[in-house]
Assembly symmetry: C2
Amino acid sequence: MTASNKFQPAWREDVPAEGTYRSIFKYDPKKFSHPSAAWYEMFKKEFNMTDDDFKKRQPGGDEKVVLKQKPGLSEAQINAFISIVGKENVAADDFSRAKYGHGKSLDENLALRQQAADRVPDLVIHPRNKEDVARIVAYCNGQKIPIITYGAGSGVVLGMRSDKGGIVLVMGTHMNKVLSINDLNQTAVVQPGILGPDFEAALNDAPRLFNAARRYTCGHFPQSFELASVGGWILALGSGQASTYYGDAYDIVVSQEYVTPAGIIRTRDIPGTATGPKVNDIMKGSEGAYGILVEVTLKIFRYMPENRQRFAFMFPSWEAAVNASREIIQAEFGRPAVLRISDPEETEIGLKLKGFNDGLLDKLLRFRGLMPMKRCLCIGTVEGEKGYTRHVKKEVSKIAHRAGAMSLTGYATRQWEHGRYSDVHMREDLLDYGIIIDTLETGVSWENLHRLHQGVRSFVKSRPGTICTTHASHFYPQGTNLYFIMILKPKDSEEFFRFRSKVVDAIVANGGSVSHHHGIGRMFAPWIENYLGREQMDVLRALKRHFDPNGIMNPGGTLGLDPKL
Amino acid sequence: MTASNKFQPAWREDVPAEGTYRSIFKYDPKKFSHPSAAWYEMFKKEFNMTDDDFKKRQPGGDEKVVLKQKPGLSEAQINAFISIVGKENVAADDFSRAKYGHGKSLDENLALRQQAADRVPDLVIHPRNKEDVARIVAYCNGQKIPIITYGAGSGVVLGMRSDKGGIVLVMGTHMNKVLSINDLNQTAVVQPGILGPDFEAALNDAPRLFNAARRYTCGHFPQSFELASVGGWILALGSGQASTYYGDAYDIVVSQEYVTPAGIIRTRDIPGTATGPKVNDIMKGSEGAYGILVEVTLKIFRYMPENRQRFAFMFPSWEAAVNASREIIQAEFGRPAVLRISDPEETEIGLKLKGFNDGLLDKLLRFRGLMPMKRCLCIGTVEGEKGYTRHVKKEVSKIAHRAGAMSLTGYATRQWEHGRYSDVHMREDLLDYGIIIDTLETGVSWENLHRLHQGVRSFVKSRPGTICTTHASHFYPQGTNLYFIMILKPKDSEEFFRFRSKVVDAIVANGGSVSHHHGIGRMFAPWIENYLGREQMDVLRALKRHFDPNGIMNPGGTLGLDPKL
């Protein structure tokens, strides 16, 4: 029997029907990424599954959305909103309320597969501009109507659940434009609902679209690039895959405008100031609990893809890869844009899934002393001016070779680039057969990295049949992040959630942050006070009371700010 | 008559007597920097002065300090402080109260020359450690005793005036140590009272002192380097002269510990997080109004002076120098450490004062089309890894040459380095003869730079007999700063203060920030609400109410937080 005759599951490739739960929870209704035969074999082996287990699917959420609870707003309230934004920008149907009431967390996915959509807004509103938002916030504040903000719905931390009903503002429908580009300041003014690809396309094409002097790039390319809004980047403190060079979302913001119940906060485009604590920075990461971002001025960067350099190495060990990465980011010869090191399990699975685990490459690697379950893959790119990118690549290579790494050329990096945004779509195929893939991520100092990696891994791997791969992909001179991908087939979702909760415990107990770039939302709120300490939480709560005395802004526990609601 | 026979004022070179006003307001009692003969000639010409005007000095503050008001604390209160820190760490004598109740602003200097020291603390306390500070703050909060914090007293914005009496905490006496160095994280934990040179010396000598793996540098070298404390860098948001590469004080802070009336804020050493608004950043720039910094973890950098590159250019015009600087900071080939461009008046005065305005250099410059009152000096350095510094210098040179600049080699930069910390001491010589030298500085976007420069200059120069030199010395891709140095002989100090106030008006009216790196204090508080807007000020006031409900932390209008007191 040839490989092609082997049984393969009938991975779904149908675009979910309109109005269904599945059309809500699928990252992108029209995009698919299926497990390869190698993935499939791995699942069967790791989870003791047989072909038969892949013949019948789990509930797929193909039903049309029907909500139990009716909208809780009065006729007068609904009419007030209509008078602000127009009838065509208000929706109260079940599907809209469910769609704009959910993010893309695993938790929401599993619930929607079971047709459970019980904490959704009463009304969906598509504001046309910031003046609409100001009028809506003022009205809601007077009426004490909760407001959730929906950027593009890609959040994975339960950040936009309507625990108290109210309205959801969909920022991506109208408020999705690049308003201007400033060549002198190298900034772009954008509306928060714009998606990454639209923003990047506008910047790349700035000479034609904005009569700009040159082409630009936004520098921010999170894995969710195709799914997330610029506002979401900032409100949940995201990091792009090239953050090691361009900075995190926190770093690329120049100035912002927020509508809050306490008034409009509009900060200035001055890059350096000594005028007291920076309110511009206080607003970042506020996850909708302080106000609504309605306009932002971002740093932009010269677009020079012709200068991009790629590198990839196989290091003999995790320690060697970590030490080399630390040297790269501390040595002051410039910085790579992408830098990513995979731990032994992630490296080995990656090789296996690409069929490299027993071929010529594997032989060559072993010959060079790069042994399975010890060797670690490193990939990266360098961006910037031509001589700079060449120099950085040269210095990176020197460090890698000194550490006993073998160059894999830029091939591995191109492979990674190919799947960087699409791999996420595989989640549905797995869930269709009861296999969970979920991720947790954390920031950590260099000093705590190994303790954290080992501490979390040892807990995760203590559960039999749990794949756990880890990489570090955002580097700072003072530390990095760790990104844990767990794949398992739990007895049921409750078992998984209990397990995941203990992994978070292990992260925090071992010196990691509760999140590096996903945010807190309601999912991680139970850990935040212990992590930050009561005194810091008291500061965030004092700001909450100031901005939102009536508790209408994303209420229901986001960021741990109003757990008693 | 030869030059050497010409009259020269008897610039003072005596160390002020102990206990005198002069020993307080002089930047450093033991350091002197006198105007050259060329400076002296310039003063006479610009201010219509004669040799006779330099034969009799203004009041020099040589009297022993005697205060009119007696300490306002009760015996019981004083004893309470003694019981916390020990008798040897408490002082109530007039001189101590005056010394630790003043910064180094021109305003304080002029007042002290007139023996006016009327807003000083009741008691001077030298805390031994952060536990002392916690106990003192708790006690003061209960007793509603105001607390001013004195780092090293180099502030120039009236940031530590005891408008309401109370105590001053002197951080530099005991809390002045490097506590540890972490090679892995490239961080140092320091106490806030340490002076720049002590910190830098410890870092340079880290292998011997801390058994560290290598030598480090702090990367932060403000003009006040020899006079300012690390805590002051952070609380007033300073910028070092190499900030273009190393970042501002804001950027080099990893984590902090503050004692506030609302409890102790201790943030974590994790460089990247998505755990809500960053309280660590909120505290920076709080100028003693929220709490007292008792410990800080700072980024440190590899010390590689052997790789330093220097450059200096003469540009044909201010526009050419500005455009080239913008290109340098936006072109993504790395960054210079020091970068500094002087406007035509500063350039010309610099040449004149060094005797270069009518010699061979001037001829050569003119021959190259670099004409007086158009040409602009640019100096700079590059730091980092060897290949990096070479590459950056090469690219800077390319840009300069394309802009029609002439290289002056690194000589001009070495000259500048020589006087970078000592030139400030010249202030006393000038004030001794009624000549005022004062500075104002502002942050600005590239887009507003010329409008701001011209707007401020045209106002300043509208006053006859006013020298005004300007440079930009802290560069960001989105803008820079402008630093205005004004030298004039006003009728009296009141005339000067009215004039300075209007210059600040002109700065803000033309799109500059109220401060780029000096801070706000009480001096610029009257402009801050208009500059930030009421909504941002309300945020800062809400934080004030949270941290300091009894209004004891640096009260009296600092940062515009409690103007009604």
